[in-house]
Amino acid sequence: MRRLGSREDLERLREEALSKSPKRFISLGMGTASRAHGAEAVYEALKEELAKRHLGIPVKATGDHGLCGYAPVMVVFPEGILYHSVKPADVPDVLEAIDKGEVLEKLLYTDPITSETYIYEKDIPFYKKQMRLVMGLMESVEPLSIDDYLCNGGFSALAKAMFDMGPQAIIQEVITSGLRGRGGAGFMTGWKWEDAASRSSPVKYIVCNGDEGDPGAYMDRCLLEGLPFEVLEGMIIGAFAVGAHQGFVYVRKEYPLATQNVQAAIEVLRELGLLGEDILGSGFDFDIQVVRGGGAFVCGESSALIASIEGRVGEPRSKHVHATESGLWGRPTVLNNVETLANVPHIVNKGGEWFASIGTKESKGTKVFSLAGDIYNTGLVEVPMGITLREVVYDIGGGIQGGKAFKAVQTGGPSGGCLPESQLDLPVDFDTLTEAGSMMGSGGMIVMDEHTCMVDVARYFVKFLTEESCGKCVPCREGLKHMLEILDRITQGEGTMEDLELLEDLGYVISNASLCGLGKSAPNPVLSTLRYFREEYVEHVRDKKCRAGVCKALVKYEIVPENCNGCHVCFKECPEGAISGEPKGVHVIDQQKCIKCGICRDVCKFDAVRVV
């Protein structure tokens, strides 16, 4: 690869790439989520079969496309025909169809509710209401192909920023765009940059936060895996704007593919001279180092993350001094989330005004969510701010699976809350969700049906946070432990009505007296469920009942005699030997022996085991 010494060199390389770029290609999602569904085997089969048939169609192994619940997903370009749940054995048929210019019916997407079948990706309801900006190139760019990225406008924003705009104009453009941090707090990115730029220190740093601590989300991982160049381009622009010469990408250790791709992408950019000294002949020097995080939720918090990069344990510091003044090794440091940075090249290219025209008054642009839970279409979705929760859950997500009733949607992970049906028409933006007692957060969105116990969900998050609290300050460390004890009591049917008030009081103290954001937002899952699902708490306490059938101490497994036809399967599978009955006769569960593992209900094909 040759080093690019000027903007003209870059444009020449782009033209070369464009002249080679194929119109017809197969894009196969190959991020972690797709691999878990067996995409690697499909990729191998594709390669093999293409060679056998002498078909000169390139396959792009890209990041996850988004429709993760239906992976492996492939899209045939230029038409945009989408095939899902592809198995290696389907590959010959797929290629046959492509070769003949036909469509392979059996792998097309069929809407689970309307039963309508779609040929083109763009028509599928899952994609229709999305607005793919940062995820826009996911399908056409191979993660490490600089040619692909250049063909799609890559690094034109960097060139524009460095040669046409200059630091001040970039910052102004980002301020105009109204871009707010996607890591959760929603701070104005342009202001953060402006502050860092105003510092006179000769040494400054920029850090990309890819810690992604929310235990139910994976947007940042997908971006780092699939479009590392986009994130890095945003980062180089940021560094140039604030005057930083060293950057760090902090990726959590559980993300090996993301780490690997970012590392490899950095090396490509170094070889091209897009990182290193005198980038594109501009005189600007900048390099990036990847740091693997140790896997602690609190390390996503800015001061803890900084400590962790410095090689210390990730404990937050109190923030009367901002990182933009004194961060890494006491130097001005800009910390931005992965998705925040991925937005930057688009803002530079298309302008702050354009960006600000998307979204709501206070929340501009799009947001990527990792949509999961009891809905039909799970995966990664990117929507314009201001879309309602209902549209995301029903139009994009396809609604609740199996005809069950909707109960709640959880956003913001451990820092957020659960919202009920009555709040579904709220627009998705930073301030509205916070007012409703939840939080937009970094992008986790879990939809829950009637079989989810809200007390258990609150307990789940508090347990997670008790384990993740760094323990530095008392309200968080002890307060959360206490909250967990109370929630344990309630789920075991030993709670009192006073406990509910105690939870609220504790929540108030923890959020007001904790040092960092972890503690400050930790009570949200409890407070929001108490606010919207109080009757469920009351049932646990007063009636000793868990209507969702989740809390073990409050439920009992029973066999419904009318439905039991004596198939004897549960008898064989019960690990405790708690079921008695002869083949073809009605079976009975011995409540003394039953450990409530639920296996009998899982294995019964006749719906004869009931939780009461």
């Binding site: 989520a33 878990a36 896997g295 344990v313 992970g413």
Partner: protein, 159 residues
């Protein structure tokens, strides 16, 4: 517990340190690489790291015990990771985890006495649609029901 032989500590630590420019600030990565090498962080290794970096042993331990990614105990031949991410939890992964705990007789983070299995929990691995998800030595198993746990363990034990 089976005896594990720790070899070449001094050279290995030196080599890994060199990879990070002998910079103690990169302690977390140094420990990560050493853990990849030994499968866990043996006492001897931590002592050697402390000696070579001149970082007090208590600080090395502080880092090694703070982060979830580190383990101070030897690991089993198979690492079983049960996803306890939010979506998997809602789909009942805790029941699957309990079953593993019962059958293996260990808690998450621990290894069976015969050094066959290490049980762990992980956060969302990005295939929530497959939940509950269990990953065994990198291989994904989707829609795992408690009833399948016994045969899964058996399958790996007999390999």
């Amino acid at each position: 517990m089976a005896q594990v032989v720790i070899e070449g500590v001094e050279e290995n630590v030196r080599e890994v340190m060199a990879r990070y420019g002998n910079n103690p600030a990169r302690m977390i990565e140094i420990l990560q690489d050493l853990q990849d090498l030994y499968g866990y962080l043996p006492k001897e290794v931590l002592e050697e790291v402390s000696r070579q970096t001149e970082v007090p042993l208590t600080r090395v331990y502080h880092v090694a015990t703070f982060f979830k990614a580190f383990t101070l105990k030897p690991r089993g031949k198979y690492t079983i990771q049960v996803c306890t991410g939010t979506a998997c939890h809602v789909k009942g992964s805790y029941r699957v985890l309990e079953r593993f705990e019962d059958l293996l007789g260990v808690r998450p983070g621990d290894t069976t006495d015969d050094l066959m299995f290490t049980l762990e929990t992980v956060n969302c691995v990005g295939c929530c649609a497959l939940g509950p998800v269990v990953i065994i030595n990198g291989k994904y198993h989707g829609h795992v029901a408690p009833v399948q746990v016994e045969s899964l363990i058996k399958e790996y034990r007999e390999r």
